[in-house]
Structure formats: C-alpha cells, structure tokens
C-alpha cells in the first residue's frame, strides 16, 4: 500500500488539471474541483481511460482496469475533485481497491 504524501496529492492534482485543460481545450484556471467532467468539459470514458494509463505508468501501478470499473460503479465520479480522490485511492490501494467496500 503506497503512502499518499502531500507531494503525491499535488502531483495528481496538477496532472489531472493539466490533462483536462489540454484534452478539452479549456482554460486551466477555469477548472475547479467542482467542475463537472461531462457537463462542463465534455469529457468521456476514453479520457478517463487515458488518465488511468498515465497514472499507471507514472506510479508503476499494479491494477486491472476492471477493478477500477467495478469500484466506479459503486462510487461514480462526476467532478474533477471526485476524480482526483479516486486516483489517489487507486495509487494507494491498487488491486486491493475493492477491499475498501468490504
């Protein structure tokens, strides 16, 4: 289980904000934790998948996509802030993510 430091949290936030600013051709300063990914940024599942792949490489994560998918069914992500929190949980728990619900 990885320890989430302040540095990790900041890196995840920066990566997520930069990613959506570039992908959605949005002004980064206008993206907030409360920004709705689909309604406000026109985001989609391929972007979510791409972001997961970025974090898998960046943090050398051992996690199956379907584990994230199963978790997301119970914990739907709508906003940038929720997405950041989920990414931090993925980094922290990897393939044990679903054990959080037990």
């Amino acid at each position: 289980m990885a320890k989430i430091t302040e540095n990790t949290r900041n890196e995840v936030r920066e990566t997520v904000f930069s990613f959506f600013a570039e992908e959605c051709e949005a002004d980064k300063s206008q993206i907030k934790d409360a920004t709705n990914i689909i309604k406000d940024l026109d985001g989609d599942s391929l972007m979510f998948l791409e972001l997961i792949e970025i974090f898998k490489k960046k943090f050398n994560l051992d996690i199956e996509l379907k584990t994230i998918g199963k978790y997301a069914v119970k914990h739907p992500v709508e906003t940038i802030g929720q997405l950041i929190e989920m990414q931090l949980l993925i980094i922290e728990h990897e393939n044990r993510l679903l054990e959080l619900d037990k």
Partner: protein, 312 residues
C-alpha cells in the same frame, strides 16, 4: 514507404455532429453543400434538411449513412484542394466508401449507390430489425468472451479498436444484456450503438451476396493511393480486390487496431480523421506506434501557411 504524407482515415456512420470540427470553415461548407445537393438529387431530397447543430435526420439510418459519407468526402476534398495529399487511406467499417472515393476507385455517385444498395439488401434479407451493436471499453477480449459464454449470448466481437476497446454485434436483446453484464464486470464504458443492423457479422452473408450484384457491375477503378483493408490489413491495389473488400466488409469482422498499426509499419507518421467526430482521433491514443493523429481542421489551418504537407 508513404513518404511524409498523412493517412486519410474515414469513420463509420455517425449521427452525432456535436464535435463537428468543420464549423465556421467556409471552404468546407461550400464543398459539403455541393456534395449534399448532388446526393439529394441522386438519392433522397430529405437530405437537404440536414444541419449540424441539431441533426433532424438522426432517426433515419440510411440518411445518416449518406451524410457520413458526404461529410467524409467533403473533409478530404477540402484538404486536397489545399495541397494536402494523402499517402494512404483506410475506412473504418462503412467508412470504406469515402476511402474508395478519395482513392479514385469509385465516383461520388457510385459511393452513394453502394450505400443505398447495401442498405436495401440488408433490409430485404434480415429476418427482423431486432439487432444492434455496442461498444465496450475497459474489458479484455477474454473478459468479454466469458460474459458472452456464461450468459449464453448470441453475440460476436466485430472489431478491436485497441487492447481494451471492442465493438460487438448481434441480437439487440442480447446486446442489452451484455451492456449490463459488462458494467457489472467493471467495464469503464459499455453502451449500445444506435443501429438496428448487425454489421460485420455472418447474419449479413445473404445481404452481402445480394449486394454483390451491384458491386460487381459498378464502375470501379484501381485505387490511386494505397488503400489498406481493415479486414486483413493487406493493400487493396486492384479492381478485383476492391470489389471483394466492399462485399466482404458487410459481413466480416474487422480490426482497426491492426489496421492502424499496419499503416505505421508502412511508414505513415500522421493520420487525420475525415469525419464529423473525433472517435478515431481519441482511440488512436491507445494504439502504440510512432505516428500521431492530427485533427482535420488543424491540418487544414496549417495547410494555409505551409506548402505541401505541413509538419504539425
């Protein structure tokens, strides 16, 4: 090798124009309207009711097929008119007709005829309209196979977009069951596609046979630029192969992942999607290779500044 020219790739039939990259490009609008007028005169004048902001023809599969074709041909023609020539081409699923047109293999009108006759043959030979297709992202091919097997679903994978993105087709009830099961099993995305035809399945073999009567009597030429088969990734370079590809494309699964990788292997370093969506552009991020996609309108804008093919 394809020098440093881009590959023009053409998406399948699309009814959603919300990502339309052509808006506010006068050169596109002029050509699109010209093709639209020709198509309306050849096929159905209802096409003239189209406007991208709120596609009023969205419920009509055949009209939408014409529109996707018209749109793809228009995108490619605008690029050609601005000195951007393709080094290769391929058509995703029914995008084959626009790819053939831009390769000089068929006329614009023959492309319309193929779309019409394929659709008529399918409607004539399919037993009912309770068929569908769906896309699933985030599951492996094995995961999908297990769902299909364990739930006794009469479905087949008809295309692999990338390692974790697939298209399935078959009975519409089974499609709906699969979508629910796939979500339960952790798919990041699973959704039915708004069609009632199980393209690329053996359910369309009889339709393909009927359609072949049109294809084998139509005026077809050898492609003037390399055209890559999405069915087996070989180069289609003569009339017989063109005819065979058009017929087989109706009832045979394809592999977009392998097709794009093959184009990389043949020296293509840049792709552009000639269509109203960014579906192939987005999907390309999950296909390993040295090339990259350039948005159609970006390529067009760059072509105004640089002679020949611009380096994006």
């Amino acid at each position: 090798m394809a020098e440093d020219k881009p590959a023009f790739v053409f998406p399948a039939f699309i009814s959603d124009y919300r990502e339309d990259p052509s808006s506010n490009i006068p050169a596109f609008n002029v050509i699109f309207q010209s093709y639209l007028n020709t198509a309306a005169a050849c096929t159905d004048e209802k096409l003239l009711a189209f406007h991208a902001e709120s596609n009023p023809l969205i419920e009509d599969e055949l009209l939408n097929q014409y529109l996707s074709y018209i749109y793809g041909c228009s995108c490619a023609r605008v690029l050609l008119n601005n000195g951007v020539n393709p080094g290769m081409t391929a058509g995703y699923s029914m995008g084959i007709y626009a790819a053939l047109f831009i390769a000089g293999s068929i006329s614009f009108e023959t492309g319309l005829l193929f779309i019409q006759k394929a659709y008529e043959a399918i409607r004539k030979t399919l037993l009912h309209t309770h068929y569908g297709m769906c896309g699933v992202i985030g599951l492996s091919e094995n995961d999908i196979g297990e769902i299909v097997l364990n739930s006794n679903l009469n479905l087949m994978i008809v295309n692999r977009n990338s390692e974790y993105s697939f298209i399935l087709a078959g009975d519409s009830f089974h499609i709906n069951v699969f979508v629910l099961k796939a979500r339960e099993e952790g798919a990041l995305h699973a959704r039915s596609i708004g069609v009632t035809i199980p393209y690329h399945t053996n359910l369309l073999e009889e339709a393909a046979s009927e359609f072949s009567k049109t294809v084998f009597t139509a005026d077809v030429h050898s492609p003037g630029i390399p055209l890559i088969s999405v069915l087996n990734q070989v180069r289609i370079d003569d009339i017989a192969l063109v005819r065979a590809e058009v017929v087989k494309n109706i009832h045979t699964p394809f592999n977009w992942l392998a097709t794009q990788q093959q184009m990389y292997a043949l020296g293509i370093s840049h792709f552009t999607e000639c269509g109203p969506s960014l579906a192939l552009y987005k999907n390309s991020k999950f296909i390993s290779g040295s090339g990259k996609f350039v948005k159609w309108n970006t390529l067009l804008k760059l072509s105004f500044r640089l002679p020949g093919f611009p380096d994006p």
